[in-house]
């Protein structure tokens, strides 16, 4: 998904303006000439200048005339679904793992992703379960990362 440089540049400049505005609300400690706002303000100014030059150069040089040029994957429903599944499964893991537990949630996430990539469902489930179990043993057991035990492994 390629955004037209002429638009992207001005969006960055706008973001830079937001940073300057946000930094201006930071207080300067008493007795000090410079405070926590100085560095972010300089970065904000940098973003405004960088964004404006990208915006102006984009208008002059870019061959792209549409605001957004959609990549080829956006025209294929199956590839679209696969791309969207990545953030969806990560978010689902973050939301469900604390209650359902690592093992079940990770098995589900891996099964969904592998199936979406066209692998047979039974094969993916077995591989997903073995992978989740291996990660549980390596991270949860050996490295002592407190992976959420959930309903399946309450005492793990």
């Amino acid at each position: 998904m390629r955004i037209y440089d002429g638009l992207l540049g001005w969006l960055i400049a706008l973001g830079g303006g937001g940073v300057i505005l946000g930094a201006s609300s930071l207080p300067t400690p008493a007795g000090q000439p410079y405070g926590p706002a100085l560095f972010p303000t300089l970065l904000g100014v940098g973003l405004v200048v960088c964004g404006a030059s990208l915006g102006l150069a984009g208008r002059r040089h870019s061959l792209q005339r549409r605001w957004v040029n959609l990549a080829s994957w956006t025209r294929s429903p199956s590839r679209q679904r696969r791309v969207i599944l990545v953030p969806v499964t990560i978010a689902a893991y973050a939301a469900l793992a604390p209650t359902v537990g690592f093992l079940l949630t990770m098995t589900g996430v891996l099964t969904v992703l592998m199936t979406a990539l066209g692998r047979p469902r039974l094969e993916t489930f077995v591989i997903a379960l073995v992978t989740a179990g291996t990660i549980q043993v390596l991270f949860g057991g050996l490295l002592r990362v407190p992976l959420p035990p959930g309903v399946l492994l309450p005492g793990f």
Binding site: M1, R2, I3, L8, I12, V19, G22, A23, L26, P29, P33, Y34, G35, P36, L38, F39, P40, L43, G46, L47, C50, G51, S53, L54, A71, S72, W73, S76, R79, R82, V83, L85, V86, P87, T89, I90, A91, Y93, A94, P98, M106, V109, L110, L113, M114, A116, L117, G118, R119, I127, A128, T131, A132, I135, F139, L143, R144, V145, P146, L147
Partner: protein, 499 residues
Amino acid sequence: MDALGAAFGLVLQPDVLVAVGLAAVFGLFVGAIPGLTATMAVALLVPVTIFMEPVPAVAVVVTVVATAIFAGDIPGALLRIPGTPASAAYTDDAFAMSRSGEAELALGVSLVYSVLGGLVGAVVLTAAAPLLAEFALQFSSFEYFWLASLGLTCAVFMSAQSRVKAIGSLLLGLLVSTVGLDVVSGQARFTFGTTELLGGVHFIPVLIGMFAVSEVIRHMAASTSDLRVPARRIGNIFAGVAAVGRRHWRSVVRGNALGVGIGILPGAGGDIAAWIAYAVSKRCSRQPERYGTGHVEGIVESASANNSALASAWIPTLVFGIPGDSTTAIIIGVLYMQGLNPGPTVFLERPELVYAVFLTFFLANLVMLPLGLAAIKSATLLLRVPRDLLMPIILGCCIVGAFAINNAAFGIVVMLVFGLVGFLMEENGFPLTPAILGMVLGRMVEEQFMISMIKAEGNVLAFVDRPIAALLAALAVTVWAWPAVKTLRSRVAGLRPVG
């Protein structure tokens, strides 16, 4: 000498040797799979290294990078798909050699000269870093500020993509580093009322997001399925390698020298070293027309350069705390987490650890020879690993890695956000390396800038009062001004009347 003896004692431990062996297998595997980069391999391993002692942690990272960079040559030679960007420069030659029945020679040259390059880089690192550290002890906040600025400048100007976009990427990284408590006053900034952001945005989930999750998204968006790998028996890969070295000894020397020199520059890693070495090799060759058609000379020079650059990139990393490329930027984070704060004082306070780090480079490159041979012999098997199964497994490791940093789901959210940001940035031509360097160096740049400003009571001339600071400032300004000077010169040349 005592420090060196202690360093040998630290490295020759069973846990370090086992960790190096496993890391080499992991690095060879990741490097050989097209689409998985050395940076991604390190990003996936970093959450594991936080549970290790400093020496095995550093040894693991060094070994993974060295082996992954070499292993990228395997699919390059056999399938014309470089496993990592550092192999892309000479893929056409390696593949053409394979098609004409010289796959063994292409892979043998690549392995042997990668190992040699890695060892040369390690020698230079061991010799140069302590000397530079002694010199760096005289540095004050002004010199550090300019040095970090020079590092960030190089990161922008070494980028192959649009310079304005590289600057935008750098500013984004610097901005992310300002989130959390201010380094000087302790004031909370850009935390939006969340306690999780008070400690700042941890760079590891960002890194995993930008380099690994974005790669998984790219795989999901691609229409390609698993690679078609013809069965192939690999014979003796060492036959003829020494003769190639004798015939092209100038390329070996030049490749190593170029790699070491380019690796030291902040922002330029093995990828850029390989491309420049290939271009220089072609220009200096007696048979430039044969490049790209299966000529071994370019492979010798570039393979030497990309591996020698890996070790020399550690010189600014260890001596000044300024990373040379994206992997050393990650390593700086690993060193801080291990309490091994990079900078000249580490050479005085913990010399045995510094020497141990140097020794791991020698170890990693020596291990690469037998394990690299094994990887080449089992290339067909390695390349047939279905990526449709591998990518979801990588995503699973990303989730657990991001969680393990603080044992909190917040790391997963950060990883997701930066994964999407990284994907969109790459789709729009914004390089990721300046953002990572900005994030890692941001705190240091701000701290040195604020200390200098307070010391100088706002007098900006104090920034160039000391001779070394003035020299570094002049270098940074020259790099920034050079494109403008070039444009001006070409315009003036265009205006000059002909004849």
